[in-house]
Amino acid sequence: MNTSTVHPEIPPPADLVDRPNYLNAAYGLKSWLLTRDHKRIGILYMISVTIFFALGSLFALLIRLELLTPEGDLMQPDTYNRVFTMHGVVMVFFFLIPAIPATLGNFLVPLMIGAKDLAFPKLNLASWYVYNLGGIFTLWAIFNGGVDTGWTFYTPFSTNYSNSYVIATALGVFINGFSSIFTGLNFIVTIHRMRAPGMTWFRLPLFIWSHYATSLIIVLGTPVVAITILMVAAERLLHLGIFDPRLGGDPILFQHLFWFYSHPAVYIMILPAMGVISELVAAFSRKRIFGYRFVAFASIAIAVLGFLVWGHHMFVAGQSMYAVTIFSIMSMLVAVPSAVKVFNWTATLYEGSISYETPMLYALGFIGLFTLGGLTGTMIATLGIDVHLHDTYFIVAHFHYIMVGGTIMAYMGGLHYWWPKISGRLYPGFLSRLSALLVFVGFNLTFFPQFILGYLGMPRRYWSYPPEFQVLNVLSTAGASILGVGYILPLFYFAWSLKYGKRAGENPWGAVGLEWDTTSPPPTENFPVIPVVTREPYDYTSEEVHRRTTQEAPVVYQLD
């Protein structure tokens, strides 16, 4: 038990899934609901997050249907307000923020650093329950008629005038914040204290670096929005006057506090996505990532700069000229580390042996869409342009290029990349490539017209519009339906693969990284013996990798 012997000559059993793994370790609902295994909790999150994604998409569908025609014919303006608000609340707080960290991050962080679990497994399980509790509050609000303040809960509308379920939704978001704090805290401690021997900071996969940066933002930002939302709820309930100008309060103060979290929250969504892309680009170019340290530190730089730019949401809200100028400059500075990443991914592709597997299609899509979203972000960080484009569809298009074109593309790419590790099965190649293509085409068709609409002056958050905008809106709605098909397809073939997919083996992509050194699906304890790391990350050239990727045999193989 104590001595670990290496038996490279023993071939792996033919039927890998019959070996002990985290899926067959225990059966029954109770074994899932009381699990402390980070891999199972990742799966639980995946299920919850998918349900909320479906709900958020349903609201998106309603928005696009209403905007198919210039007249407000499908719903009342008040209903429309509620629909776009709930689309935002559900997508931002219950899908985009937890999507990659809580599912892929939960599953992969301990595997990638060679740990048996996250530092606090009970806290990890608690975070899933807290997430769902927050979800229940929000769902309760939705089923009772929803909320109409916009996902930003701007005061004094949210505190004094709105006749919708602000408090229930706010409490849902407040509670949900704790689940992200638990996850972020767990990741930071795990990355600091649980790394396998030899896993130095500069041997960490970039996925880990970006999750570390994300966790920093979560830990520093989320509590601020928590107290802000608590004050909104208290104000609405007791009319204290904190944000009510009639009582001496300042509604702009709310915007400052809200965006102090909610702008960094955008980086909570995009940083893990960047981590995923770094893994995919290296794996499918079969090259060491270009400028590893720059990409790693770019994550930290984005996390730090992200806290200094919140004022760019308030250029027309009456800030001082000096504050506005500084926020504008700081916002443009964020483009620097972001561009470092994009250039380094592109440089990694250069002279790589690129293969167009499904995850790589998503990764390439991400690079293009993120670049467009990022560049338009620099545009609207410019003061003069922002005054023109503020609150138009240009803004909507910009942040959807980052959130959907960035985060969801990366989430889908990551799911396709690690699915063989998670489930132990392969999915159909043609269908999955088709879905990646549909998502890319559908996405651009949905959101590119919105850039033009915004530039022409179509405002956000209206249920009707002048007839001259109809052609572009019809294009957008058509694109959304293609996007919908692209998102639904994976649901079917992933489910299909669980039963009928080919067994994946431990490393179907021939990738490097500790997660590919263990079996698929991994055993509950992740590794038969704690691995000792002796190599750089993304070492796609050394002899050992060559041997490993050309034969199926694992290097270390021992069953406890």
Partner: protein, 239 residues
Amino acid sequence: MSISLTDPQAHGGHDAHPSLQHHFDTLEQQKEASTLGMWLFLVTEIMFFGGLFTTYVVYRSKYSTAFVAASHTLDWKLGAFNTAVLILSSLTMALAIWAAQVNRRKQVVAFLIATMILGLTFLGVKAVEYKDKFEHHHVPGASFEWHEGGHAEAAPAQADFAKHVQLFFSLYFIMTGLHAVHMICGIGVLAFLLMPSWKGRYNSAYHNPLECTGLYWHFVDIVWIFLFPLLYLLGAHAK
């Protein structure tokens, strides 16, 4: 699982300590992880109260005279007494951890109980102060009343002044209220630690839970040390 492989410095041999969780290799690693986790949690708490303090600072500078007038209705002697009580409770908390480190089981329990009693004393004094606010109609809301005014000003200005005083009391109740909630949680955790302490589970080899609770307790204490001057000691107390 090989322990020597992962941590050659591990002391205490290879027998697993009963308090060692399965996913850690050594007690040392487990202790470092839980302490770091606690510190990070305190960072989130600082940011949480930070939002409130920011709000306070904004209105304190905007409505300076109203805040001073409102602050004068608070009894600084009770506040000072409570500050002393909390500092003393931090001492007993630290002594409880020390007692565990030197394996004095009964003293751990005694100091924990002393800490809890001091915490409850603080809450009792706070309850008296809250009661006073209710009696004087200084609780924000429909029944709020303020007659003193700023200086000799016209009626509309006085109405505004009263609103700003109410803002002070809103922040007073939110800040001290959230602080009290943290105190109650702390006392709850201390109660939870009593039984294992009595059974001698915390000793020189293993006392993470005590240490982390101590960190939390000191943090709540420090929050009060900021709240006390911000709320009670505005302007000169000439009374």
